[in-house]
């Protein structure tokens, strides 16, 4: 004697085969009925793929910047920006060297603190001109923003100590200004001073690093001490035809903490600190981790909305299937009567129609899966968006299609089972 579940499994297998035969019998009708299901499942797969692709890309961008990094940035206060500006007016704002020292000595869990001064400057070499971002920083920069070194070396503590006129340039700067020479050892003129190129870095390609990446394609890195000595702390900025004099000690402070866990607490501490020492609010704090959290939140919302849309299309598909199954029950009333007269139990009739609905929705689900695999590929090809089809999303879509079949097949199946055999036999 076989166990009962084996018996009912075999019986259900036969019902499924019968369902398949029924599906073949009404090929076009079945196909049309399945369409709703196909599109529902396809959109689930496709939308999950697009959503997951987008999330993946966003997270990659932010991760590249480092989730245990905080960035404090000098900004000009809005109120001050609006003031009448004259050439003689000097606006003073932003992070100070004192800030850097205070943080370096007082902040727990601080792994690295990288001060940054920056200025747009013209770089020249043999008559070639290129606008670059001149970045005055410390050797720690290259640990915080690790980029492959193509030639030479990065900045060293001694460069800083002796205020050496040395520079590390990005690949693009080297290509533009030193196309024919070996870059290392060449001298560039930047903002009235000469710097010897000691190293070439591969910069993060534009876009790949994202808008918030700390490095830019056309960067020239020099020791912070050299920057201060050669350019000072007062800058001339041209705004709408007039020039503005500004005094800014540091443009950025990059803080790398020793773990992700302390980032949010540190952010709160820094907020308090800046509120105390910068009453004019000329410093803003960027926390990539928070951005990451926001991105994840956005992703969740996105998934919810997409899920709702997919759910509606599956609902419509399911109702279509239920409709056709109800029609099928009516159409085959006499068959049901015959089966009942022969000795089929109500449950067996119900199971037959449920199996048929499952075959219908399952085939729809499989077709939808294929279409759902094709769609993200097309989207990637046409729009360049990153899409990511995960096995979990495929399984989910298939499970959903089966669940829809089960839910919407139940009522027609019960209706078939409840028919009175005598009445059903007389049905024309």
């Amino acid at each position: 004697m076989r166990p009962w579940f084996a018996v009912s499994l075999i019986a259900f297998g036969r019902d499924l085969r019968l369902g398949l035969a029924q599906l073949r019998l009404h090929g076009l009708r079945s196909l049309l009925t399945m369409l709703g299901m196909v599109f529902g499942v396809a959109s689930v797969v496709a939308m999950l793929a697009v959503g997951q692709g987008a999330a993946h890309e966003a997270l990659e961008q932010i991760r590249q910047f480092g989730s245990e990094v905080l960035v404090a940035e000098s900004v000009k206060e809005v109120a001050q920006e609006k003031k009448r500006q004259s050439a003689s007016f000097l606006s003073v704002y932003g992070l100070t060297y004192a800030d850097a020292d205070r943080l370096r000595h007082n902040l727990p869990h601080l792994l690295r603190l990288v001060p940054v001064k920056q200025q747009r400057e013209q770089a020249q070499k043999d008559g070639r001109l290129l606008e670059v971002r001149l970045v005055g920083t410390t050797p720690d920069w290259f640990d915080l923003v690790p980029r492959p070194l193509l030639a030479g070396r990065t900045l060293r503590p001694l460069d800083e100590q002796y205020r050496k006129p040395v520079a590390v340039v990005t690949e693009e700067v080297a290509r533009q200004l030193l196309p024919l020479q070996m870059p290392v050892g060449q001298r560039l003129r930047i903002g009235g001073n000469y710097y010897e190129v000691v190293g070439v870095l591969r910069s993060s390609a534009a876009g790949q690093g994202g808008a918030r990446a700390p490095d830019q394609p056309r960067d020239v890195y020099i020791p912070l001490a050299s920057f201060r000595q050669n350019l000072g702390d007062v800058y001339l900025r041209r705004v709408a035809g007039t020039s503005v004099r500004e005094r800014v000690e540091l443009h950025q402070l990059l803080l790398q903490m020793d773990s992700e866990q302390v980032v949010e607490a540190t952010a709160a501490a820094l907020d308090g600190l800046f509120r105390r020492f910068h009453r004019r609010q000329d410093v803003v704090l960027h926390v990539p981790l928070t951005l990451l959290r926001q991105a994840e939140q956005t992703q969740r919302t996105f998934n919810l909305v997409l899920g709702a849309i997919a759910g509606i299309s599956l609902l419509v598909g399911g109702i279509g299937i239920m409709n056709i199954m109800l029609a099928s029950v009516t159409e085959r009333t006499r068959e049901i009567g015959i089966r009942r007269a022969i000795g089929a139990r109500r449950r067996q009739i119900a199971r037959q129609f449920l199996a048929e609905t499952l075959v219908l929705s399952g085939c729809g689900g499989l077709l939808g899966l294929l279409l759902g695999l094709l769609l993200p590929w097309l989207i990637s090809r046409l729009t360049g968006l990153t899409t990511l089809v995960t096995p979990a999303s495929l399984l989910l879509a298939l499970a959903i299609s089966m669940a829809v079949g089960l839910v919407f097949g139940l009522y027609p199946a019960l209706r078939a089972a409840r028919l009175d055999p005598i009445v059903a036999l007389r049905h024309e």
Binding site: V7, I10, A11, R14, A21, Q22, L25, R334, E335, G337, I338, R339, R340, A341, I342, G343, A344, R345, R346, R347, Q348, P421, I422, L425
Partner: protein, 226 residues
């Protein structure tokens, strides 16, 4: 003679728009294995209702019905289905085969519901098809068969689970007389094998071949011959 089927004071009525209509009134009937019964009467006399009651498709309003001494009145729907599956075989006037199944599958349908192993079911269905003379039509659909052939399939199907009682509702009603007689020969071969045959018919000539003849009028037994 032991009773296979026994009806006592059996009553069945239907509710219609015109009020309750009595289909069967106080029927007493005892049928033994090996007997063949012809049930006759005008339309509306209760023949079909009697057949449905005897075949466990319908229930009595009052009175009792026993199969092998076991009352059926209290059985639930599943138990009645099982009885139809194992103890009764139905044959209908319009054959009632399932159009999308072939001959073999139609014959094997009761075996399917009995969850017989597929290879065994196939073997038995082939044997039955051979018995009713359809060995060369195994994979034809009902629509590809003549009326007589379809009724043979129906007979084979009714015999699939080796039932004790064969119930036939005008089995030759849709057939010409020559074919009808062939079908009757098949059916009348069953009682000698120990099965009870109960057949509703209008054809007095065919009825004469049966061991018992019952006339119904307005739901009551009008005449009984044996």
């Amino acid at each position: 003679m032991t009773a296979l089927l026994q009806l006592r004071r059996a009553c069945r009525s239907y509710r219609t728009h015109a009020g309750a209509v009595a289909a069967l009134v106080d029927i007493d009937l005892t049928i033994a294995a090996g007997q063949s019964w012809a049930v006759m009467g005008a339309s509306g006399s209760g023949k079909s209702t009697l057949l449905n009651i005897l075949g466990a498709l319908d229930r009595l309003d009052s009175g009792s019905y026993e199969l092998d001494g076991v009352p059926l009145t209290r059985l639930d729907d599943d138990a009645l289905s099982d009885l139809r599956l194992r103890r009764f075989g139905f044959i209908f006037q319009s054959f009632h085969l399932i159009a999308q199944l072939d001959v073999l599958e139609n014959i094997a349908l009761p075996l399917f519901y009995r969850q017989t192993a597929p290879d065994l079911a196939r073997q038995r269905a082939c044997q039955l098809a051979d018995q009713v003379g359809l060995a060369d039509r195994l994979h034809h659909r009902p629509a590809q068969l003549s009326g007589g052939q379809q009724q043979r399939v129906a007979i084979a199907r009714a015999l699939a689970n080796d039932p004790a009682v064969i119930l036939a509702d005008e089995p030759t009603g849709n057939l010409d007389s020559a074919t009808g007689e062939q079908i009757m020969d098949l059916l009348l071969a069953l009682p000698p094998q120990g099965k009870a045959l109960i057949m509703v018919t209008h054809n007095e000539a065919l009825a004469r071949h049966c061991s018992h003849r019952l006339w119904l009028k307005d739901g009551r037994v009008a005449r009984l011959e044996s």
